[in-house]
């Protein structure tokens, strides 16, 4: 049984369907990347999985259907999303941002987790009292990731984490994501335009075009394919 199975997914905004017939799978413990150009439906896929928009078809997570679930039920089930453009709570302090991430939890280990993620992101600990909106882009992206992790997800959805970040910072972030996957077995579904970097950390890759998956395979297979390499990797 795969962790996440999406089949014949249709979703969109109002009467317009952005996704027409989308199928993908994320296995437990792997990093999967969705590549595609602007408007191909990457963000829509993420929002459909998180339950933020109307959708039909079938989405199964850890054996449970979440096709009809509300966003909060999906977070409770174990999916956390880092939205595109970071989506922090700019008026709230860094610490409150992280605490908001633990909103669905009722256990008493929240403080421990907070301390733990401040270990992983020491730069956030230095700024825990600052308003998130006053942080740099890279730091805000860290806030968004740490916030998502505070819900103790089994699957992390990351929507273009590299957007608007300097290459060095992007590399650092991808390093963190890779190590989370390696050390803690966190499954990650990543959406990216920056194909080079993403394919380095991903085990498997999907290519999406106008709402459909047009190709899939391991990173090595796809980067060996000439036409795909030209279109998406640019060399």
């Amino acid at each position: 049984m795969s962790l996440l199975e999406v089949s014949t997914l249709r979703a969109g905004y109002g009467p317009v369907n952005v996704l027409v017939d989308l199928n993908l799978v994320v296995e437990e413990g792997e990093i999967v990347v969705i590549l595609g150009s602007n408007g191909a439906g990457k963000t829509t896929t993420m929002r459909a999985i998180s339950g933020m928009i109307a959708r039909s078809g079938s989405i199964t997570f850890a054996g449970q259907s979440i096709t009809k679930s509300s966003p909060d039920a999906i977070v409770r089930a174990g999916i956390a999303q880092v939205p595109q453009g970071r989506g922090t709570f700019p008026e709230l302090s860094v610490e409150d941002n992280l605490r908001a991430g633990a909103f669905v939890r009722n256990d008493d280990e929240i403080d421990e987790d907070l301390a733990h993620w401040f270990e992983v992101f020491p730069r956030l600990r230095e700024r825990r009292e600052q308003r998130a909106g006053s942080l740099s882009g890279g730091e805000q992206q860290m806030v968004a990731i740490a916030r998502a992790l505070m819900s103790r997800p089994k699957l992390l959805l990351c929507d273009e984490p590299s957007l608007g970040l300097a290459p060095l910072i992007t590399q650092e972030l991808f390093g963190i994501i890779a190590s989370l996957n390696r050390d803690k077995g966190l499954s990650v579904l990543l959406v990216e335009q920056n194909a080079n970097l993403a394919m380095k950390i991903a085990r498997r890759v999907y290519l999406i075009e106008t709402g459909r998956i047009v190709a899939s395979g391991s990173s090595d297979e796809l980067s060996a394919d000439d036409s795909i390499r030209k279109a998406y990797l640019g060399f």
Binding site: M52, S70, I74, V75, F89, P90, F103, S151
Partner: protein, 307 residues
């Protein structure tokens, strides 16, 4: 000095009422970005309910609890049935709906309770609108020669205690965190699993409940309730929220107290120029000055967009 203190006390007491209504305005504005023009009229409806309960012989403390509960229900129902579906259409439509509510609730009060000042010896068992605090002419404390009537002082204390409680709820509880998260970024709030709809419903309910408290307290100060009671209170509260910053609950309270003091000092020290007639002009003046000097208000975050 004695005069100054007297105006200060009166101003703080009446300002407490503005602070309550302004708090309600700010809570709704932060959550949804709408200015609830019906805030005052929702409070007035609850005030009439409390009056009616008093007529039926229910003690004020208990009547107040029911009135506040009615306020909460009214606010929540308005959000769920009117504001939420309409806000998908346009902010303009929400504005019109709050105006319709303003008009409709005021009409409803008149239709049920008539348009005279109540309690009215002809129809009421009560002599005065019931107050929470000792309200006889002899119930006052004297501070440096200025008298502070206990029913006025009580209102201020009530507001300060309530503010402290709200401050605690906003900043130290999960519910408060959810409210702040929704105000800051509703989309992300959903993504971390906050049921934003419930939070908004609760926010409207809370705002209306606080407003109901303000209405009852104000009617108590006035000894009566009438259809026009909340018009001016609403505009003072808006001025208070503008002064304090529309996204700052603390600012709303300080703004409310400040407006009360400014209004009373103005009318007291310049009776010839401002007097009772032009007290309302103070509110207009404050709004315009704040917009010219610091549009985000004293404690608001500068999200104001200039054009």
């Amino acid at each position: 000095m004695e005069r100054f203190l007297q105006y200060l006390f009166d101003g703080l007491s009446i300002g407490s009422v503005y602070a309550l209504l302004a708090l309600g305005l700010v809570i709704i504005y932060r959550g949804t970005g709408h200015l609830n023009f019906a805030q005052g009229e929702m409070a007035l409806f609850c005030t009439y309910v409390v009056y009616q309960l008093g007529e039926w012989g229910i003690p004020i403390g208990f009547a107040l609890v029911i009135g506040v509960a009615v306020g909460f229900a009214l606010g929540a129902v308005v959000e769920v049935t009117l504001v939420r579906p309409i806000s998908k259409k346009s902010p303009f439509a929400v504005f019109i709906v709050t105006i319709g509510l303003f008009q409709g609730l005021n009409w409803l009060d008149g239709a049920i309770w008539g348009d005279q000042i109540l309690p009215n010896s002809a129809v009421s068992k009560q002599a005065n609108f019931p107050t929470l605090f000792p309200s006889k002419d002899t119930d006052f404390v004297t501070i440096l020669g200025a008298a502070w009537r206990l029913k006025y002082l009580g209102v201020l204390v009530l507001v300060l205690v309530l503010t402290a409680v709200l401050f605690f709820v906003f900043n130290k509880t999960k519910l408060g965190l959810a409210m702040r998260a929704v105000a800051s970024n509703p989309e992300s709030a959903k993504l971390v699993g906050i049921r934003t709809n419930r939070v908004l419903m609760f926010s409207w309910g809370l705002a209306a409940a606080i407003g109901a408290l303000g209405g009852v307290v104000f009617a108590g100060i006035n000894n009566s309730v009438n259809l026009g009671l909340m018009f001016t209170v609403f505009i003072y509260s808006s001025a208070a929220a503008t002064l304090g910053g529309f996204d700052s609950p603390g600012g709303a309270v300080i703004g409310g107290l400040a407006i009360g003091v400014i209004e009373n000092m103005g009318a007291g020290y310049f009776p010839e120029w401002i007097g009772q007639e032009l007290k309302l002009g103070v509110a207009l003046f404050v709004i315009v000055v704040v917009l010219l000097v610091k549009p985000s208000g004293l404690f608001g975050t500068a999200k104001v967009e200039r054009v």
